[in-house]
């Protein structure tokens, strides 16, 4: 198919996939070269911060919820039931502010992937996920130190009980690596790579649809390609939600592992 394009265009051109820097790097709106440089990623991150805050501030606190209050209460209830109760238990309610903020920020950062004129997930740049992951990392260490004391936390996370003494030579470095380095790395890379992969997928099918639109002979497969694009857009909405859920769920699991190490 691609060879056909090339033949029609006389060897050059055809289906041109844009270089990756065109897909994820955006020009600054203002403040070029200073620390106040502000581009699309910054705008989306600000919106992901302001939209949930505004929703919470604007919703009326009535006994029978209506309209906006329904959505807000639904979000709180979802995080409470699916994340906190299932990962930490009833005493995890005090971590609700952190987990709800993470959930909503990640979700609104992701959902801009499918909103026209934005079409870019803020979490497809490594800066956002890495800061969120470091927040989660600092949080579970702080919770562990507070719940078990510094030496107790180190002992329970580096020296798991029920292992023969000689094996600690092998187990302790592995535990250190997996607890303190791979956890934040995994959190950040999971979110980043999922969103980047979804973005590239949508771009690929968008580029394919445009290329097919310009070719009269091959326009017959355009409906299929366009249907796939629409389906993938729906799929990406689901991925945005699942990634926000998984990020907050994993943070909750790490916090609960710091709280009760023997489970």
């Amino acid at each position: 198919m691609f060879a056909l394009f090339a033949a029609e265009e006389g060897g050059g051109g055809g289906l041109q996939f844009p270089p990756i820097s065109n897909l994820v790097e955006w020009p600054n709106y203002f403040g070029d070269g200073t620390i106040f440089a502000f581009n699309k990623i910054g705008l989306i991150s600000m919106l992901a911060l302001l939209i949930p805050t505004g929703m919470f501030l604007l919703s009326k606190k009535e006994l029978v919820p209506r309209g906006l209050q329904n959505i807000v209460e639904g979000a709180v209830e979802f995080v409470d039931k699916q994340v906190i109760q299932s990962a930490i238990g009833p005493d995890g309610r005090k971590y609700m502010p952190l987990l709800l903020s993470i959930f909503l920020f990640v979700f609104f950062g992701n959902i801009f992937e499918v909103i026209p004129t934005f079409q870019m997930p803020a979490n497809a740049r490594m800066a956002n996920p890495i800061i969120l992951a470091l927040t989660a990392w600092a949080m579970f260490i702080a919770v562990g130190v507070k719940a078990q004391g510094f030496s107790g936390f180190m002992k329970s996370s580096l020296f798991p009980p029920g292992v023969p003494k000689a094996l600690y030579l092998l187990v302790t470095p592995i535990e250190f690596l997996s607890t303190f380095l791979l956890r934040p790395f995994g959190l950040a890379v999971r979110l980043f790579a999922n969103m980047l992969a979804g973005h590239i997928l949508l771009v690929t099918f968008g580029v394919l649809c445009i290329a097919l639109w310009q070719k009269s002979a091959l326009a017959i497969v355009l409906p299929f390609s366009f249907a796939t694009l629409v389906g993938l857009t729906g799929f990406e909405v689901m991925v945005s939600l699942i990634q926000a859920f998984v990020f907050s769920l994993l943070t909750a699991v790490y916090i609960s592992l710091s709280l009760n190490p023997h489970h």
Binding site: I20, R190, L196, F245, V246, L249, L250, V253
Partner: protein
């Protein structure tokens, strides 16, 4: 003297050409190995997620009352399994574009 100069110029030209070819070769090798990297990285997690979700469905069918808990654990397991494929995807991006 002029012979020497022209030889030097030729040597520089050759060197530049060789460097260009080396860059081309590197790009070609990177592009082809990028596909292998992602393809190989997707095999294990693909099997793993299939097995995981299958077992979760079985568990939910046997005990529908514990479906909520099984679902949460399933998402956790998928998140951990999928991480390997995603690292493969990052390697793909690095090999292809960086």
């Amino acid at each position: 003297m002029s012979v020497l100069a022209s030889t030097a110029a030729q040597a520089i030209e050759f060197a530049a050409e060789a460097e260009l070819n080396a860059d081309d070769a590197k790009a070609t090798a990177g592009a082809s190995s990028a596909g292998f990297a992602y393809g190989l990285a997707a095999i294990g997690p693909g099997i793993g997620i299939g097995y995981l979700v299958g077992q979760a469905v079985q568990a939910m069918a046997r005990q529908p009352e514990s479906a909520g808990q099984v679902q949460t654990t399933m998402f956790l397991g998928i998140a951990f399994t999928e991480a390997l494929a995603l690292i493969g995807f990052v390697v793909f991006i690095l090999l292809k574009f960086a």
